[in-house]
Symmetry: C2
Subunit: 718 residues, 2 copies
């Protein structure tokens, strides 16, 4: 259709991007080589749906993608991967027949701004066509945090120096309805409206092409709402999406404002203020933004994949990243979201039990890579270019995941004292994982239990015996399950009776758990205070990592897979990870000698690695090393130092970064009798201020001053 | 290459097809509409590899396929399906440039002969080209039973009335090496040789095209060997296949002769002679041929799919067809093959345990459809043409499979007294399936255990409560497991101690099994002697099947899915199946009233159905009905009465047919104290004679005369 107008009033968006540089991320100009990485970093998401920050009009280097949590289909080798939905925000705009594109005409200015504070992606763009017509565009995109089924795009288009015919094609690219091969229907209902310069609106249920005369200096505004429902949400996703889209399209400004308010509330609960170090401040907020964007307290049957909803890497699969690296942030700042994450592990217990059964064990062995059902979805092999079939062993061998899940359950319960959760779900996870370890560890002639043929967090070494992290965490798991059983039996005898009967846990089994825990080989040498990372590790080749100071590639690529396996170089903390998680159980001297021993052997081949070194170094008072590792962690996405941000942001690294700040530098320790801080602040951090929830109370932590309880901060847990 | 010859001696194949019409199946001429079905029926197989009886030169209606047992890849919806290998027997032959095809020139005669006795597919063909040249071809194809890695094709080509240039292209269609997405490599190595009329041989490691001058009356012979290995067999399948191919190509006649000898040995052990009824004799031998072709005693990690290795229907998946319908034949005639089948169920216990765990139960719940790992591989849904997603519930609900597997284990053990098997594998299956039923059955307020929401053998009714077959078999499973536990404890105390410790089976659990069995709801009405097929069945609509006498479509298609679910029409025996399997546990009157009640309600919508009615009717002395049902069972493939033989032969129905003859008409009962016969022979069966093994002894059964022990018949179990 064609519409003619003459008036020329402004049609403003209801908000502007934040200005404070620590609240925003800016991409100035357009750098083709960085585009995939920028798309990841500038993603918007609300835990239900996520969308990459691609150019609306596309480019040769654009890889737009929108994902819905929990909606998988089968990819290569039948490994489930998040379904890529239609490119809902695609726009083709022409002025007098000239397409508005970065590669046509001259770009006078172009920037994308990720507005962390408001959870919005902005784009500001002035483009001049070959005839000299200058068009100014401003685009806002968001995944609503106040109404998770909504995606919003608003674009204002201003003719700076011409009168002419503008044309907008807002047809999404790709099908708006998809049926996955797992039987899920996904429906996007898109609704658009065009505001003329006077604010008069033309609403369309979805249009292909709309043309209009724009006058010099006039601004038109296009709003697009996509309402999104799946058959996971409702039996009638099509009806739900259509109705919702119809209902809200005339109310876009309000939706934008409510979304901003929801983000404000999130930041009140989760901001971590660092004065004196703006790059750190920005990095922390960037991490908190993506963590918060990834969580959805309204759906406890999904969790957060290693790359959130921002890219295709790891196919949306959930790893220990969630339980060990991200969960602590949510425990203390967003407990309802934390609860959904641990409940996901409860809902996927059947998959974990199935995996244990398949491998011949009892109890629950969680999937190293987990998707919708909790079945193991690690690709079993890849085929090398020469046709060789290379087995991927993590799905079978990286079993510490079961203790990690249990540990996550425990941290959530410690932080919240959510007794209902413990009774209904948490205890079952603790018991079933303990049961797994008791069946997994084998009694040998040396009078000890051993756990052979595993992969620890250090994935450079496969099929190792008695990995220190695995065994240490298994021991913790067994002891904690027994402790929780005793606690329930005392405090909640009826619940305990029901649970123990249902699961068949009896006194004999509790004794077995303790027996295995107490006699489990740990690799600890009392003389040196060192844990041997696995049997035979000390005999491996020592390689001086300091000899590779400026390397940009990971050590396994530099040295080759074979050599690295024969060396002491590790991919990421294993013993040091154990020391961090079980800090209070180990004497100070043990923490220190192990860190000193393993730190120079760590190649940081995982994005999860440097933050933990930063954290432990800070706790040990080594601020130089801590600051260096912290920066390394901060730059994984912001400087794409690992070269793989194109596949999505590293949500686990972000959780690690937050932990390094909160538990490392700020020195927050969460003891039974309450939180304590033992800070080691970097010299330039003039002030650190944050707030957190612990067992129903809000605490304000301000350093260097101290900590105070600020309960009740507000009525709910946000 | 081109070779010129003048001599004209015959180069005969070392054998001829059997002549006795009860030993062969003949397809005269060529009927395009029947071709897919003929391809299935005329398949050759040896339990390791199977190949459809397609025309070597192909046609618009040809669907050649070769499958290797256990080699699956992911198909639609990621459901595993047998990999279709290259069309190894493809041949393009031209005479003076005219292709030898049925659709070019005039077919003077054409027939395919399935030689049941020698396990060979023959083809005899005279074709005249437009110039009047008459060429005679004779083809032999086999899957070697004496060397399962070999496929053999021999073709003689005779120029009846001309001199001319013949050309043969023997390039297989499709890749000879395949890597499946489950990581299995399959390698075919093809070797060809051409024999000139004097018997001089040209051996080629594989040629594309070979041309030669053939003189009037001369015969050339082409031999092709395909050696087949997979990475399931050896780490170096390529080397193994190449070496084997090289080794045997010069020895084709010997391979053909050895294959025939192996079949002769099989028939000595398994033939069931019926004098006076040639169609029945042929049908039984046809069934025995395909059953024997499907088994492989050398590989106990595969089993027999519903269609053997003869077609794509059901993707090669294994159902209860194997344990309940086919296994008894193998138990009594081919115990080493039977052992492989039950061991397959032991190797897939981890998958069955995983399925039970996933659904929240203990023990082992076998897959309704099972492939290589024992994971459930029933497609979870199909999409109707209108886009509706129709859930397939059998994978979750048809749980009687677990009792069927246990029953199969029991019948094998009863037949063989293979105590090593019982200790190493069988008892574990019995215990884990019993453990499943004990967790599956739920105690309710009426003081009984119930098994709700299942599908029985009668798949017309879904989500039913207390299916009579399921509950009856579960009860049997529980009691038998307890009995076996007691027996082991007495006879093999050390083995029992090890097993009970490993599986955690203790006295309490054995009591529980008996308790559940004794208090399990059975649907039995003492007053009428009837079992109600499931709760509420008696209240369903009665529909008179006699009103549909000449129907060719199944009842669920005629009446619609909804109506059939509300009716008493059943797809296949459920209560009657229970009565057959647990015959000795039920009083004669109960057998009779239930058969009389359910027989007229059975629509025979499954290929497994009529044979069981034939069997039970024969035992009950109703020979008219028995004969009618027996014929119905015999015609499923031979007359393609269900219209789906194109997807492969019905191996389960063939097992049922054999059981109807052996256990029905011949009235063989296998009691603890030895076999007995209570025959009810049809009037025209002048004589029935067969032999079988029972507990290490060979028996000769000759009716009407009687039975005699003939131990030892020969040195091994064949």
């Amino acid at each position: 259709m064609t519409i003619n107008h003459v008036a020329s009033n402004l049609v403003d968006l209801p908000t502007e991007p934040a200005a404070d540089p620590t609240w925003i991320l800016i991409e100035e100009g357009f750098t083709p080589a960085r585009e995939h990485e920028v798309e990841s970093l500038f993603s918007i998401a609300n835990g239900y749906v996520g969308s990459r920050g691609s150019l609306a009009e596309g480019s040769a280097l654009s890889a737009p993608a929108t994902f819905v949590a929990g909606v998988f289909s089968s990819g290569v080798g039948c490994v489930p991967e998040l379904v890529r939905l239609a490119d809902w925000s695609h726009l083709s705009i022409t002025v007098e027949g000239h397409p508005l594109r970065l590669d046509q005409g001259q770009t006078l200015s172009h920037r994308r701004i990720l507005d962390l504070r408001q959870g919005m992606l902005w784009r500001e763009w002035r483009q001049q066509d070959v005839a000299g017509r200058i068009t100014r565009l401003k685009e806002l995109r968001l995944a609503s945090l106040s109404d998770r089924h909504l995606l919003v795009q608003s674009v204002t288009l201003t003719a700076e120096n011409y009168n002419g015919m503008a044309s907008i094609d807002a047809t999404p690219i790709g099908p708006l309805t998809q049926l996955t091969d797992t039987g899920i229907t996904v429906v996007m209902a898109d609704r658009t409206r065009l505001l003329d310069p006077k604010g008069g609106a033309i609403v369309s249920p979805a249009f292909d092409q709309l043309s209009f005369e724009i006058g010099c200096g006039e601004t038109y505004r296009l709003d697009r709402i996509v309402a999104l429902y799946t058959s996971r949400d409702t039996d009638e996703p099509r009806t739900a999406a259509q109705k919702h889209g119809d209902h809200v399209i005339s109310d876009v400004d309000n939706i934008i404002v409510q979304h901003g308010d929801a983000w404000l509330k999130r930041w009140q609960a989760s901001d971590l203020l660092v004065e004196g170090d703006p790059p750190t401040q920005q990095a922390l907020r960037f991490g908190i933004y993506h963590l918060s964007s990834s969580a959805n307290p309204e759906d406890d049957r999904v969790s957060i994949g290693a790359r959130g909803l921002t890219g295709t890497a790891y196919k949306g699969h959930v790893f220990w990243d969630t339980d060990i690296f991200m969960l602590p942030f949510f425990n203390l700042t967003y407990p309802t979201a934390a609860r959904a994450l641990v409940m996901y592990r409860h809902h996927t217990l059947p998959g974990a039990r199935a995996k244990a059964a398949r491998l011949g064990y009892r109890g629950a062995l969680y999937a190293w890579e987990s998707a919708d059902t909790g079945e193991e979805v690690t690709p079993p092999f890849v085929v090398a270019p020469d046709g060789e079939v290379i087995r991927i062993l993590t799905g079978e061998q990286e079993q510490h995941i079961s203790a990690d899940v249990a540990f996550g359950v425990w941290t959530y319960w410690q932080a919240t004292e959510d007794e209902r959760f413990l009774i209904d779900a948490g205890a079952e996870i603790l018991f079933e994982t303990a049961r797994f370890w008791a069946s997994r560890a084998a009694w040998e002639e040396d009078g000890r239990y051993h756990i052979r043929k595993v992969i620890g967090p250090d994935e450079y070494h496969e099929s190792v015996d008695d990995d220190a992290y695995t065994n240490g965490m298994a021991q913790w798991n067994l002891e904690t399950a027994e402790k929780v059983a005793q606690l329930l039996a005392e405090r909640q005898p009826a619940a305990w009776r029901g649970l123990s009967r249902r699961l068949g846990v009896d006194a004999d089994e509790l004794h077995l758990w303790l027996h295995v825990a107490r006699n489990l080989y740990t690799g600890f040498d009392e003389k040196t205070g060192l844990f041997e990372q696995f049997q035979g590790y000390f005999q491996l080749e020592e390689i001086d990592l300091a000899a590779f100071p400026q390397r940009t590639a990971p050590m396994d690529l530099l040295l080759g897979r074979e050599r690295i396996q024969r060396s002491q170089i590790i991919k990421q903390p294993d013993v040091v990870m154990l020391i961090y998680l079980l800090w209070e159980r180990l004497p100070p001297q043990v923490r220190r000698v192990n860190f000193d021993y393993y730190e120079p052997r760590c190649g940081h081949g995982s994005s999860l690695s440097p933050a933990i070194h930063a954290l432990v170094a800070a706790r040990l008072g080594n601020l130089t090393l801590a600051a260096r590792s912290f920066r390394q962690a901060a730059e994984i996405d912001l400087a794409n130092t690992m070269g793989n941000a194109a596949g999505g942001i590293h949500a686990g690294a972000m959780g690690g970064l937050w932990q390094a700040a909160a538990f490392g530098f700020a020195g927050l320790h969460l003891f039974k009798n309450g939180p304590e801080q033992h800070p080691h602040l970097p010299a330039d951090w003039r002030k650190l201020s944050t707030q957190f929830q612990w067992r129903g109370q809000w605490y304000q932590l301000t350093l260097p001053e101290g900590r105070e309880k600020i309960w009740p901060k507000n009525g709910d847990d946000a």
